[in-house]
């Protein structure tokens, strides 16, 4: 296998990511400032003003953290209910040329929760379940808004960090509207056009039924408004595929270039948000330090997955598969080992969940890396907004523990980290650990849990662990093999997604409010600087240590044991 191609692609990818971070970050600074100025103002500004007037929003009025959180939750719950209702009534609504029936209540709840929380976990086959109306209104709507909500929450936290003795964190409605209008809409539009150029369909035609050449069987060819959905699914780190094959489907991801740009678009906003952070706290080095920590974690994961997949499966090799081919099981031949490994790493780092290969078919270690990426709390660039605020939890912890070692009460960007802040940060981490481990433990001994397993032994356990990790982490990718869409699965994963999203956001916004109200202590030679190599290493160490200490026993029971068993000649 030609590793050279992989290295070149990796270098190109890193270069492109670095290149877009600053310009997009500068643009974010304007978008996330109610008085910011952008190049699309002439077109968008009037629409923005009109929206404020119709909705009765005073763009000048800022909210306290409680007001902000309340608005955010009210908006999300409304969206949840709206989607639930549409899915339940799908059979009676228009734009349904395939005459697909309505969804049952559990699947409708699961799907509504999934899209509201930016998870896009899919217990259904898109093309066989969702009408065009459901895809475009009930689901794509959330692709926009859930992304905007995530970015808004991150912006509120960053404002809390950058302000001193402040009572407010911004206005949620203004953030929501500005992020949608100025950020997601223009970039999403351009991206969709690009995808159409690359060959992704965008139409309202019914599926085409064709006769196959060899057997003259009927083949249903999926189409519809795909390009627009793909654009936002990547940009907003949603990840819900239009079709079940997701980004492995030639209509969703037709060319090497579309594959490259899709991977880039996943990291685009999360990466730019670190730049936004640095500028807002007037410590650009800190933004880059957070970026670097994310980057090193990403690179390590990508190389580990790549090497595990390139090494392949010794059992297959005994059967005559050339070792140079690596592990090609479950991979689209168009992408091969490297692009599949890189995509898998990116999509799990960033809580996107779109896939261009089946993670379930990765080697045990190759599949463990994506799983562990999710279990770090989706902080390696992470979901739009969610990645940054998740990472800042680790920053607070790193600063608190190590900051003591410089002989001062720990402080972060001039804010003293005190009992309340530690409490909120730890609360968010506890929610993450408790939900993943709790549901996994339940499902791994319950009848309903075991009934859904397609694989036995540690691999089956890995599937359960992956499912709940993915839901709590709001990732949405899955180890296939679970025949989900059963009442318990629908409900538990639905709750896992809601908990992983909102019970994480509330403590974070509380933290933002508390930090924003604090005085800023001027930096001095005695201050622990949150930039530079020492800090980057410290932050990486904290993420790895907290993630490893929490999930190592579970991983040991799954992929780690599986790996050793594979080496000993057993597969599952």
């Amino acid at each position: 296998m030609n590793h050279g191609n992989g290295w070149v692609q990796l270098a190109l990818y890193i270069g492109a990511l670095l290149l877009i971070t600053k310009p997009l970050g500068l643009y974010l600074l304007q978008v996330l400032d109610a008085k910011g100025k952008t190049c699309v103002d002439p077109v968008v500004r009037p629409i923005e003003r009109l929206t404020y007037r119709i909705c009765g929003i005073d763009p000048e009025a800022e909210q306290s953290w409680i007001g902000y959180t309340f608005s955010l939750l009210a908006f999300s719950v409304t969206g949840l209910v709206f989607t639930y209702v549409i899915l339940r009534l799908q059979g009676r609504l228009p734009l349904n040329p395939q005459h697909l029936p309505s969804l049952n209540q559990h699947l409708a709840f699961n799907t509504a929760a999934s899209f509201t929380t930016n998870t896009n976990w899919q217990f259904y086959t898109g093309e066989a379940t969702m009408s065009y109306l459901s895809q475009m209104v009930a689901l794509t709507l959330h692709n926009w808004t859930s992304a905007a909500v995530g970015i808004a929450a991150a912006a509120a936290l960053v404002r809390g960090l950058s302000r001193a003795s402040a009572k407010t964190l911004g206005n949620f409605w203004v953030d929501l509207i500005r992020i949608s209008y100025y950020l997601l809409a223009p970039i999403g539009f351009a991206f969709a056009i690009f995808l159409v150029w690359q060959g992704v369909p965008e139409n309202f035609l019914p599926y085409t039924v064709a006769k196959t050449v060899e057997t003259h069987a009927d083949q249903t060819i999926v189409q519809g408004p795909i390009a627009s959905q793909i654009a936002i699914k990547m940009l907003g780190t949603n990840g819900g595929g239009y079709s079940s094959a997701n980004a492995a489907h030639p209509f969703e991801n037709p060319t090497p270039l579309s594959n490259f740009v899709q991977m880039l678009s996943i990291f685009a906003i999360p990466s730019a948000l670190t730049f936004y952070l640095g500028r807002m706290v007037k410590q650009p080095g800190h933004g880059w330090a957070v970026w670097s920590a994310m980057f090193v974690l990403f690179l390590g994961g990508a190389l580990a997955t790549w090497s595990a997949e390139a090494a392949g499966n010794p059992i297959h090799q005994h059967l005559g598969v050339g070792p140079a081919d690596g592990n090609m099981e479950g991979k689209e031949v168009r992408f091969g080992v490297f692009d599949s490994s890189l995509f898998a790493t990116i999509t799990t780092d960033a809580s996107c969940g779109a896939v261009n290969a089946m993670h379930d078919s990765f080697t045990p270690l190759g599949g463990m890396i994506p799983l562990f990426n999710i279990q770090t709390g989706e902080v390696i660039f992470g979901g739009v907004g969610a990645g940054l605020y998740g990472m800042l939890i680790f920053v607070v912890l790193a600063v608190f523990i190590a900051g003591l070692m410089v002989g001062r009460t720990p402080e972060y960007v001039g804010k003293k980290i005190e009992a309340y802040d530690v409490k909120m940060a730890m609360l968010a981490l506890m929610v993450l650990a408790a939900t993943i481990l709790g549901f996994t433990a339940w499902a791994s001994v319950a009848k309903w849990g075991l009934a859904a397993l397609g694989n036995a032994g540690p691999h089956g356990f890995g599937e359960i662990l992956y499912a709940y990790s993915s839901c709590v982490g709001n990732n949405g990718s899955a180890f296939a093999g679970l025949s989900g869409n059963e009442v318990h699965w629908d409900d538990t994963t639905g709750f896992a997604m809601l908990i992983g999203r909102f019970l994480m956001m509330i403590p974070i916004l509380a933290l933002a409010g508390n930090l924003g109200a604090k005085k800023v202590i001027p930096a001095s030679a005695g201050t622990f600087r949150t930039e530079g190599i020492t800090f980057v290493v410290l932050l990486i160490g904290t993420v790895l240590l907290v993630g490893a200490l929490t999930f190592l026993p579970a991983l040991a029971m799954g992929p780690i044991v599986e790996h050793f068993l594979m080496r000993a000649g057993t597969l599952f």
Binding site: I401, V406, G407, T409, T534, A556
Partner: protein, 679 residues
């Protein structure tokens, strides 16, 4: 208190601590420390496993015992720290013998009462040879007092009514004369009482940072508890029946027992270190705040410069011989008993061989007052000799005095005054009648080594502000010579207070020392206010620390102790959490290898057997607490090398070290217990 430092492991303290560490097993006491509470519960559950042995009895018994030892060791650490505090407290208390006080009745007569009967505002009379029965203010008289019982300093000090030397402390002895003292504290509420209860740990409250750290440790404990609880069903899934003993062992190894067990000892030891340096802190909070200080307000005199200024030169006015100036200066200083005044007399003698002499005719000395800011001598006309009036004092005042008589101050004198000020000296202008004779150059002597000390503070991120009553020019020159960052000239107590508020307003934490009653508001406002023991009762009550040695330089040491306490906490927390990596590598393979022999390679330490692996990890986890007690009590050394370098250093030692050391330790213990056939 005779403050000889109690040796780290005093035999008597250790013996008592051993008993205390068993007494402290009381679950109600353990509840205060969630980490150790969970450990205790784990130990009890493991003992219960002995009733229905599924595993070898000896092995389960050993695990259970070591878990119990983990709790006892943590108790022991706390008990040792408290024991050291108690030893200090005992020596404090020994000054509190049963005293009989002479209380003054309303009619002025005296009655004998027990010292414990004294109440606030009672007035007692203490004569030479008697011990002062309680804290108070001198309302009448002046006397020399031996305060060695408190300060360890044998030279007696003067205590007198009014002014800044009026405070006396219970337990000290009047050496001469007699004092009437108004008692300022009810029994049991005096300064010593307060300190005794603090060092004994009785009234110890958790400091803000300690609370935050406890929350972190508790949350980690909850997370690990979830991890272990979830492992049981995971095992059921995989058909691996994990034993309760193994699960509890893993839990206790994972939760941060090392820092959890040593946390309170670190706090108590911090107070204790202050006490050894003769500083009484009113709360642990103040000690912690000392570590955060980033602005120090330091009085110039006594802290930055030697107390006394020395006359070093005479600068005559044009046409005035130097000798005449020196003669007038000496005459004006004859009655001046201040060190400055004496230095003028000596300088005149040294330079011009002018001897202190009898003036030989009637004369009056004019003493210095705060209003006139001049002193001098008036010699009326006598026997054909003209009347002489000589004054020396601050330039402005002497100039005004001369001009009031129709004289003028020559410009060269104005220049000389400015010049001396610029050089950090104090100019004293000497005038006779309407004629200005010249200027005396009083030089401030900056203490040796102080410049280096300030540079060190700067590298710690602490800004120093010199407080002085001098004019701005003088202040600037001394500030430059001493290397302070900023100064506050012609400072009044109000200006000090305003300065502290301004610094705090822009986010700084301020420490200062003070002794006078008029320092009290500023001492109360400062984040760390250190009152001098020689100061007034008001000042002592306003501050949150008292320095028994009354040494203003002590502030620097206080900051160091505060920082040291925080560094120790951070270092041990990091170490404790980093330890978990190795413990996982010891225990997880041990738990799984029975069901999945293929994972053998995961046992990277090559521990002999699953049971010896688990037992080794538990033993390591317990004895590391004992091993770290000296570090917790002595504290991690704070090095003023800047935050970045310090962090890097400590991260390598306690972070990286914390990952590596348990691998070695557990392997060593495993070899040992297998050699001894314990499993």
């Amino acid at each position: 208190m005779s403050t000889k430092a109690v040796s780290l492991f005093d035999r008597e303290i250790l013996g008592k601590a051993l008993v205390d560490s068993i007494v402290k097993l009381n679950p109600r006491q353990q509840l205060k420390n969630p980490v150790m509470f969970i450990t205790l519960i784990g130990a009890i559950l493991t003992f219960e496993q002995l009733l229905t042995p599924k595993e070898p009895f000896g092995y389960v018994l050993q695990v259970a015992l070591w878990l119990l030892f983990t709790v006892i060791f943590a108790n022991f650490a706390e008990a040792v720290a408290e024991g050291r505090g108690k030893a200090q407290a005992r020596s404090l208390r020994s000054t509190r013998k049963q005293l009989v006080a002479k209380r003054r009745r309303a009619d002025g007569s005296l009655e004998n009462v027990d010292a414990s009967q004294l109440r606030r505002n009672d007035v007692v009379v203490v004569v030479a040879g008697e011990v002062i029965p309680g804290d108070g203010d001198v309302v009448e008289g002046a006397a020399s007092v031996d305060e060695s019982a408190i300060t360890g300093e044998s030279a007696p000090v003067i205590r007198e009514a009014g002014g800044d030397r009026s405070a006396v402390t219970g337990g000290t002895t009047v050496l001469s004369d007699s004092l009437s003292i108004r008692v300022t504290a009810d029994p049991g509420e005096g300064f010593l009482d307060h300190m005794i209860s603090l060092v004994e740990g009785a009234s110890r409250q958790k400091t803000p940072n300690e609370i935050a750290l406890t929350i972190l440790l508790s949350a980690l404990t909850v997370i690990f508890l979830l991890v272990i609880i979830a492992l049981k069903p995971f095992g059921t899934y995989a058909n691996v029946p994990f034993s309760i003993t193994a699960l509890i062992a893993l839990l206790v190894c994972l939760i941060p027992t090392t820092i959890g067990g040593l946390l309170s000892a670190i706090g108590i030891a911090g107070m204790d270190r202050l006490l050894q340096r003769n500083v009484l802190a009113m709360s642990g909070r103040a000690v912690e705040a000392a570590g955060d200080i980033d602005v120090l307000l330091l009085d110039k005199t006594g802290t930055i410069t030697l107390g006394n200024r020395q006359a070093s030169d005479f600068v005559p006015a044009p046409g005035v011989p130097s000798e005449r100036l020196a003669d007038a200066a000496q005459l004006a200083s004859l009655a001046d008993e201040t060190p400055e005044g004496r230095s003028i007399v000596v300088l005149a003698k040294d330079l011009f061989n002018l001897r202190g002499r009898e003036i030989g005719r009637p004369h009056t000395f004019v003493p210095f007052t705060a209003q006139t800011r001049m002193s001098g001598i008036d010699i009326p006309a006598h026997g054909g000799q003209a009347m002489r009036t000589i004054r020396k004092g601050a330039a402005d005042n002497v100039q005004a005095w001369v001009e009031a008589q129709g004289g003028t101050c020559p410009p060269t004198i104005v220049d000389a005054v400015a010049d001396i000020s610029r050089q950090g000296g104090t100019p004293l202008v000497v005038a006779e009648g309407r004629e200005v004779l010249g200027v005396i150059f009083l030089r401030d002597v900056v203490k040796g080594g102080i410049r280096e000390r300030f540079a060190e503070l700067r590298s710690m991120g602490i800004r120093t502000v010199m407080i002085t009553g001098d004019n701005p020019l003088t202040a600037a020159a001394i500030a430059a010579e001493a290397g302070v960052d900023d100064f506050l000239a012609r400072a009044t107590p109000e200006m000090k207070l305003a300065r502290i508020r301004a610094e705090q307003g822009s986010g700084h934490l301020v420490a200062m020392t003070g002794d006078g009653t008029n320092d009290a508001p500023a001492l109360a406002q400062a984040d760390v206010g250190v009152a001098m023991n020689t100061g007034t009762q008001a000042a002592k009550e306003a501050g949150n620390m008292v320095d028994l040695d009354s040494n203003p330089t002590k502030l620097l040491e206080i900051v160091n102790i505060g920082k040291q306490m925080l560094v120790t906490r951070g270092a041990l927390t990091t170490f404790s959490i980093a330890n978990d990596v190795a413990k996982y590598f010891a225990i997880i393979p041990a738990m799984l290898v029975g069901a999945f022999p293929a994972i053998g390679p995961l046992n990277i330490m090559h521990l002999a057997s699953p049971r010896s692996a688990i037992l080794s990890a538990v033993i390591f986890n317990a004895i590391i607490i004992i091993a770290l007690i000296p570090l917790a009590l002595k504290g991690v050394k704070y090095r003023p090398i800047g935050a970045a370098a310090l962090l890097q250093r400590n991260l390598i030692i306690y972070g990286l070290g914390g990952i590596v050391i348990p691998f070695i330790g557990i392997k060593f213990i495993d070899v040992l217990i297998n050699a001894l056939h314990l499993v």
